[in-house]
């Protein structure tokens, strides 16, 4: 794994705050400048993939655990949104966006028992187990037909937004999530948690010997990473209004996130090249 940059400076510097403000401004202005439907559609996926890469990075980058199963959490978020809008009667319009919060928190909490088990392994075995988790989740989506509709999937109701600016609410939902994810990354990176995660990445046994609570920090990184990934999946499902197992639980999702992180152009540029409608 390549090394993520570790911020040792814990204060908010004016230059850094300025950069962050400029980034948010550009993020907010983009769909107004590039207003065509296909352009905004592309932007939605660009921002989503950037956010997925950033949320994967909390576990895969800072802690150095090669997780390949984030497709599972994305799919869980997507299915939770689809089930919430069809079966639970959350209502249309902007209300499904509220559902993102319980989905993210719920996924983060629900993965903890599984994460405890998975985190007993390292390196190659961890990579194998996480992708196995992805396949397990996919099989469940295929087989629990009453809830997931099996291989036919679920169609969520189409959002009743005006056709001219249909993509905008989804874009802003993704953008807010991206900003939130990057903020979480920043907080993690500059906190004691980030230092502990980097210690785990460099030499886990030694870190534990030196008194780092390796189990706890790994678990927190796993849960946060999974919860954020699920949030993106939820918005994705409401945007496409259609989820089925082979697409929502995508084995390539994690790989895509990782390769994008490796790409020199940074997460956002990498995401744009593989955005798909």
């Amino acid at each position: 794994m390549t090394r993520a940059h570790t911020g040792r400076d814990f204060r908010i510097r004016p230059a850094g705050a300025g950069q962050a403000a400029a980034f948010v401004a550009v993020l907010a202005a983009l769909p107004l400048i590039l207003g065509q439907h296909w352009q905004v559609n592309l932007l939605v996926f660009t921002v989503m993939y950037a956010g997925l890469a950033a949320s994967w990075n909390i576990l895969g980058g800072y802690a150095g655990y090669p997780a390949l199963g984030h497709g599972a959490f994305f799919g869980i978020g997507a299915y939770a949104m689809a089930i919430g809008t069809t079966h639970l009667g959350v209502g249309g319009g902007y209300r499904p966006f509220v559902l993102i919060i319980p989905i993210a928190v719920g996924t983060a909490l629900a993965v903890i028992p599984v994460a405890r088990l998975l985190l007993r392994t390292r390196a190659a075995a961890f990579a194998v187990l996480t992708i196995t988790l992805m396949f397990m989740a996919q099989t469940l989506a295929y087989n629990i037909r009453g809830l997931t509709g099996g291989s036919q999937g679920i169609s969520a109701p189409l959002a009743p937004f005006p056709a001219a600016t249909f993509e905008r609410p989804f874009y802003y939902a993704m953008a807010i999530l991206l900003a939130l994810t990057l903020a979480v990354c920043w907080v993690v990176r500059t906190s004691k948690l980030g230092l502990a995660l980097n210690a785990v990445r460099d030499d886990e046994d030694r870190a534990r010997g030196l008194g780092v609570q390796t189990e706890l920090v790994k678990l927190v990184a796993f849960a946060v990473s999974a919860g954020l990934t699920a949030a993106f999946g939820a918005v994705w499902a409401y945007y496409l209004t259609f989820v089925y197992p082979g697409f929502a639980f995508d084995p390539l999702l994690a790989l895509g996130a990782i390769l994008r992180r490796f790409s020199a152009g940074g997460a956002a540029c990498g995401a744009r090249s593989s955005a798909r409608p």
Binding site: L117, R122, A124, L129, F135, L252
Partner: protein, 291 residues
């Protein structure tokens, strides 16, 4: 009860094919410390090639293995030289990603060349079976099992009885020491990769006669192979073979007694349950920083 025993027979026979694929993967992991995420698609590649050799040239899939195995050996050798050689052994996860990406690339080419129709190679004896004491023994699965035993036996003889095998084992145990003692570690690793991929080729050719396949079958097969590899302890050949047969039987029994829908899932459940008890797999040893 009859169905139960019948499903065990079928499971053991097909477990041989899994053992062949996973055994090759274990050899590759030994010399490169990289889990070969392309093993499944390399097998599917050979399923397609033997399908073409059979439908267009009339060559029996078991005969086509004689062509495919040397070709896949060369391919595996080339994969090592082109993609893995420059990655350090500590970068095992990066190698894993490279091989995964390679597998996806191969799948793309296969989907392009063969389209995504589900295919199956059907020689004349494909649906024949013998009846022994009231139980059906499908001919293809039986021959596949014999082939798996033969290839794994040959690999075992190479590993245990030849100079090359000693070099392979030395590289697996400790590449630095092996290099100090005059082993050309890079060449041996490439040969090990070639042997592992060749095993996948032999397994793939018969796989195409047993189950219908297309490029996308690689994910199903890969998830099973990975479960087997971790259960078998990644490095250990005997462990991998035992794990493959056990999981082949479990899959077959679940398919027969409960539902084929859940047979793939049973693999993953077994894997998770075992890991709760033994994080290093059934036969693995605890390696510092490796597992």
């Amino acid at each position: 009860m009859h169905l139960f025993v019948q499903s065990i027979i079928v499971g053991v026979l097909f477990g041989g094919v899994y053992a062949l694929l996973a055994g090759g993967q274990a050899i590759i992991f030994g010399v490169t410390r990289t889990v070969n995420f392309a093993q499944a698609i390399l097998a599917i590649l050979c399923s397609y090639l033997s399908y073409t050799l059979f439908t267009d040239f009339g060559i029996d899939p078991f005969v086509s293995i004689l062509v495919l195995v040397p070709a896949m050996f060369a391919f595996g050798y080339a994969i090592y030289v082109l993609f893995l050689r420059r990655l350090s052994r500590s970068g095992g996860e990066l190698g894993l990603l490279v091989l995964y990406a390679l597998g996806i690339g191969i799948q793309g080419l296969l989907d392009f060349a063969y389209k995504t129709n589900i295919r199956v190679t059907t020689p004349g004896y494909a649906n024949n079976s013998w009846t022994v004491a009231g139980y059906q023994i499908p001919e293809v699965r039986f021959f596949a099992f014999v082939l798996a035993v033969a290839v794994l036996g040959a690999l075992q003889v190479i590993r245990q009885r030849t100079k090359l095998g000693r070099a392979l084992r030395a590289t697996t145990q400790n590449p630095v020491a092996a290099r100090l003692l005059g082993v050309d570690v890079e060449r041996i690793s490439a040969i090990g990769m070639g042997l592992g991929v060749a095993a996948a080729g032999a397994a793939g050719a018969v796989f195409g006669m047993i189950l219908p396949f297309n490029g996308n079958s690689q994910y199903d097969l890969l998830s099973k192979l990975l479960s087997i590899a971790v259960l078998g302890g990644l490095l250990s050949m005997p462990g991998t073979i035992v794990a493959a047969v056990i999981l082949g039987v479990i899959e077959s029994v679940v398919a027969a007694m409960i539902s084929p829908d859940w047979s793939a899932f049973s693999f993953l459940v077994v894997l998770f349950v075992v890991l709760m008890v033994r994080p290093q797999g059934l036969f693995g040893r605890q390696l510092r920083g490796a597992l």
